[in-house]
Amino acid sequence: MTNLTQTQVRERIEKRLASRHRKEKMFRGMGIASIAFGVLAVVILFSDIISKGSGAFVQTAIELEVHYDAQVLGIDKVDDESLAWANFSGVIREALRERFPSVTGRSDKRELYSLVSSGAPFTLRDRLAANPQLLGKSEKVWFAADDDVDTFVKSLKDSKEGFRGRTSEQKAGWIEQLLDSGELKKRFNTTFFTNGDSREPEQAGIRAALMGSLFTLLVTLALSFPIGVAAAIYLEEYAPKNRWTDLIEVNINNLAAVPSIVFGLLGLAIFINFFELPRSAPLVGGLVLTLMTLPTIIISSRVALKAVPPSIREAAMGMGASRMQVVFHHVLPLAMPGMLTGAIIGMAQALGETAPLLMIGMVAFIVDVPGGVTDPATVLPVQIFLWADSPERAFVERTSAAIMVLLSVLILMNASAVMLRKKLERRW
């Protein structure tokens, strides 16, 4: 290297300046492009799901004047037994025949009856059970329309033709008639939020899956958070650094990368076959997801513990605090926000997990809303999978609607995590 004069040095610097700036700009441009790509993907995903799924929040309903005729119902008093026996479909059929008196012939009548949902008799039963003096009287009731009708009416929106599908010319005529007289309307779909799964799309709801997810997550949280935090504290604060702890660390990291289906198989073999816990139960689902979430929580908790400045530990120890006091009075409060973030990420992961739950029977068709952790249940992502697999066209929008609900729950969880963090951090 020859000695350079200051001017020479400056010249050399300036010569490379342009290319340095260009590289800088390119790097920034690449960053912006990556973010734009991500945002675009999210926008496309969300707009697709929302445009497909928003229809599921309304349901076509038909208003009929029904007469609770004791003779047609075949009962003389209202009690549990007679309600179970009563012929409510007869009443609805009569109401339909009255509304369209011109319809005669077997097949035409059958087609007429298919205007309303096959769940309509249950609507009627519930009304009568709640109000026994209705027996022998008449009232106007809104019934959910059959899913073919629903699909047809919803598709009418833009083109007069609409998606006919299995709906015949004749049926379409009736529908238009009802539509014109205001006896057929799109109403808010409460069924979607109050019912469990059903083969009939108009009766299918996400409540069972939502409750199943809730119970499963409760079990997961109740087990994985304390176990994960305790393991992290031991490894970080107590355990000597030797070959055994290294081995444990490697294995925990490995566990985080094990495919989730393997945890499902493990759950099937151990929790169901060996311990004979009930199948399809949120308890088993929660246990399996605990195994899956533990590594995430342990790793993030250890990172949070490591991030606590050692000066705080020294200060507390210098005051004569015992190890446990150091951890619980000083380290844990400071590490808590980070631990909670890890836990919420783990929970969000668990909420979206499908594969391991298939193995333990949470993929079953379950109509009843579970009331506890041992009741058979399914979870939201599995419900989405089941509906996506169903042939009825009305399930398409319900699938998207269920995805919307799942995403809302996720957003809610993540938002609460951020808020919780902010709140905890402000204390210090």
Binding site: K241, I312, R313, A315, M319, G320, H330, W428
Partner: protein, 292 residues
Amino acid sequence: MSTMTLDAAGHAEAVQSELTGEKMAISQAAVRKTVGQPFSDTAKLRMRNVNVFYGETQAIHNVSLDIGRNEVVAMIGPSGCGKSTFLRCLNRMNDTIEGCRVDGELSLDGDPIYGPKVDVVPLRARVGMVFQKPNPFPKSIYENVAYGPKIHGIASRRADLDEIVENSLRRAGLWDEVKDRLDKPGTGLSGGQQQRLCIARAIAVSPEVILMDEPCSALDPIATARIEELIDELRENYTIAIVTHSMQQAARVSQRTAYFHLGHLVEVNDTETVFTNPEHELTEAYITGRFG
């Protein structure tokens, strides 16, 4: 470095020669033997033949020293000479360091500091510590000072606790500055105030000894002067061992000064003697600024 040969035994000597030239070269034996007066008649802390190892490397070689009652002993020496390591043996803060081993006899008023039956919790209540970087807890000023009395169960009633907090803050010379904002976070104070808060926190449990590890190295001259004044006042009630990089500080606050060099205790003498008429060439070289 041209003609020098390095071997394990002559390590200290070799480094020494490198730093101060052939003339300063001294024998290994001369380093090992502490000159001056390392012992005291009124010893509060008694250390005999202390060796400290970090894994394979030995950080402290055969150090014997007494720290007398109500005495301030300053420990000086170049970086990495083991003075902080030695200080941290006195309340067993080295326990937390992986692979650190201490042997030798250390006792506080005749009670052993190390040993299978010794509980570090009461020991650390008797031997308080102030660290290099002010490290108040991220809690309120009140909580900071009240923490020690709370965990040791010294005071449980609020009124007693209030009194301890006020007295400690007064003795640390911080009361007037913080009395109106005791519930504000201790981390919101200035560096000097934080360090005084740490001193208040340490004296709140009425320790017998206070260890100070370069307490002023992160502070400005005014805050440093306040802490030094404070050390002088605290001497009435406490025994203090202070590690410092500032020779002026050692000269101002201490009665005796110990000079450490590469893990050896080279000289202990009255502070005045050390700074005006050191016995050992190494001490002289250090205080006159020829190395360190």
